[in-house]
Amino acid sequence: MTPVGTESQLVIAPMLIVLVAAAATLFLGRHPRARAAVSLAAGVAYGLAVAAIDWYIVLAPGAPGIATYQVGDWPAPFGITLVADGLSAFMLTMVAVLGIGSLVFSTRHLPGGEGRSYYFPLFHFLSLGVTGAFLTGDLFNLFVWFEVMLMASYVFVAYSGGPQHTRAAFWYVALNLLASAVFLLGVGGIYATTGTLNMADLAQRLADPAAYGLEPVPVVGLLGMLLSVFAIKAGLVPFQFWIPTAYRAAPPQITALLAGATKKVGIYAIIRLSFTVFAGAEVAVDLPLPVVDAAIAGDSPLPFVGAALLVMGAGSILVGGIGAVGRDSMEGVFAYSSIGQVGFIAVPVGIAATTVDPALREFAIIAALVFALNHTLAKGLLFLAVGTVRSATGTSRFADLGGLAGRSPPLAIAVFIASLALVGIPPLSGFFGKFLVFDVAARARAGPVIVLLLVGSLLTIAYATRMWNRSFWGARTDAVDAATIDPVQVGVLAILAATIVVVGIGFDPVYEFAETAAEAALDTDAYVDAVDPQNASELGGSSGGDH
């Protein structure tokens, strides 16, 4: 029973903040103002906690780089470990920025209905699930946080209560129940194969299977099961079909979170498990893959992951891009665009997994993270803008929109900046994301991948331009003329747009942060050392002395 250090306590702080906020807002059902105030306070506290994690654990000179927290004082690998390292911190920061924006937005525009008093508790549960998934160091616990996240998002998809929403929610629930079952099967299989679910312990055992008497080959297939589950969450082709309906059904400020945060949980889980945990597993691999001109052979399951991700990423870029061009509403375009953009994140991760060059691998993960950051900011902003347009005009269909630019220049400028960031125009954050992804493909000498990325970029320009022309330019429609645009919502959009510009102009520190995150993702030894899972046999006599 060791006293807990300050850094350790920081690890759990963001989770406790949203947990307490969820409990508090449950009691404030009849006091909308107090509910909003508590939620905002929690949002600010959450932001501060994440900033403290960033600085004291990861970025400050002499910071440890990684900190752990043993929930309930049970030692690893028996108890649940929470781990905050560079990768977790990067993801948390990304989500915190968007989450606070969405929260402020929610205090201004709440869809009506009886469920209103449950909006904020659910919002906090959704944040709790996302935060927990980023911080946990235990595979089963990851499953639990996925479920927490899903429970809240089920309700949000069905929130408006119309027949269309109920239908979307039904499919969403059915698909995710199936995914959860596969996830659970995969987790069970890994436990049966390796005898542990603590990620650090898992990495340690897989790196030296002989010492633990295990046969690592089944792990490759089990990892494939987990990968497909994470691909569903991230919305990669062929698991993209639920995204358009679900994103249309949920309230826009929640869709911003679904696209900006829960999708990133899928990406995070792929990176964390593939590189930190399973990279060390010794499995002979021989896989013909002509696309990437790097040796596709190694002694770990990574090439399988890489090949799958490359194929899924390529499909996503094409399906998302082509689908987005033909949509007839703002959120339809952005939903398909999300599919394509996640493809842009998956491709560098795939290259990172297939290459054997450690420098390129790290660089590719940096590219994926920077692109993910841009996607969270830009797409989050765009979905929030859909919310503004919808609450102002009552519609987001192109047929009923037009001339928004003249009606509200600040709104138009914010959307314009986000669209440019999506396209990848310097000096915005999107430019660096896209530039790095192209650079990775070039360094891997993957000609077909570059062509694919080019096609994807052209499609992005096409649908962004079309969205802009249809809704912001042209003659004003009656709906736009009668609109009353909420200044606070536009303020949130402006701040997010400013963030996109600032990230682009002052890119160096962001790049360094992403670099730290990528190093943390690849440094299995540091991860294992920090968690320090004791050997079950070593503990034999001393364990359970507590109870």
Binding site: L16, A22, Q70
Partner: protein
């Protein structure tokens, strides 16, 4: 059905409570105890109808015009859910005051208790009680609202 319910419900409730109480050391706990308690309520609902609790047990008048989610007993279920969640969170936070990690548990042996001789009072019981309330409150809300529709 009603005769069986009269015999079964008390047994189910007793088993539920025993599962709940021994949960920290043996299989059981707040969740499973809660689910079993809800089963008992479910049997009552099926045998005596949805309004039985309001009218028969609590002796209140039921206004048939209101939506099911406005019933006083449903509001009570919702409150139970909220309080249970709060109890669980607070009991998890309590160890932080003693500079122990979140959710750390301990226990006290009470000696010389009549009948039992010694009784183990575990702090995990507080957390479990919270879980129990959440499960009972949540499931009964769903059961009564969806059941009425």
């Amino acid at each position: 059905m009603r005769t069986t319910a009269r015999a079964i419900v008390p047994i189910v409730l007793v088993v539920a409570i025993s599962l709940f109480v021994e949960g920290h050391n043996l299989p059981g706990g707040g969740f499973i105890g809660g689910v079993l308690t809800v089963t008992a309520f479910g049997i009552v609902y099926m045998a005596f109808g949805l309004d039985f609790l309001e009218r028969g047990v609590l002796g209140r008048e039921v206004d048939p015009g209101k939506g099911p989610s406005r019933d006083r007993v449903v509001l009570a279920y919702r409150r139970l859910f909220a309080y249970g969640f709060a109890i669980a969170v607070v009991s998890g936070l309590a160890p932080l005051v003693f500079e122990r990690p979140f959710l750390t548990q301990t226990f006290v042996m009470l000696e010389g208790v009549p009948i039992y001789d010694h009784l183990e009072v575990a702090s995990a019981l507080a957390f479990d009680f919270g879980v129990y309330c959440v499960v009972v409150g949540g499931l009964l809300t769903i059961l009564s609202v969806v059941g009425a529709e």
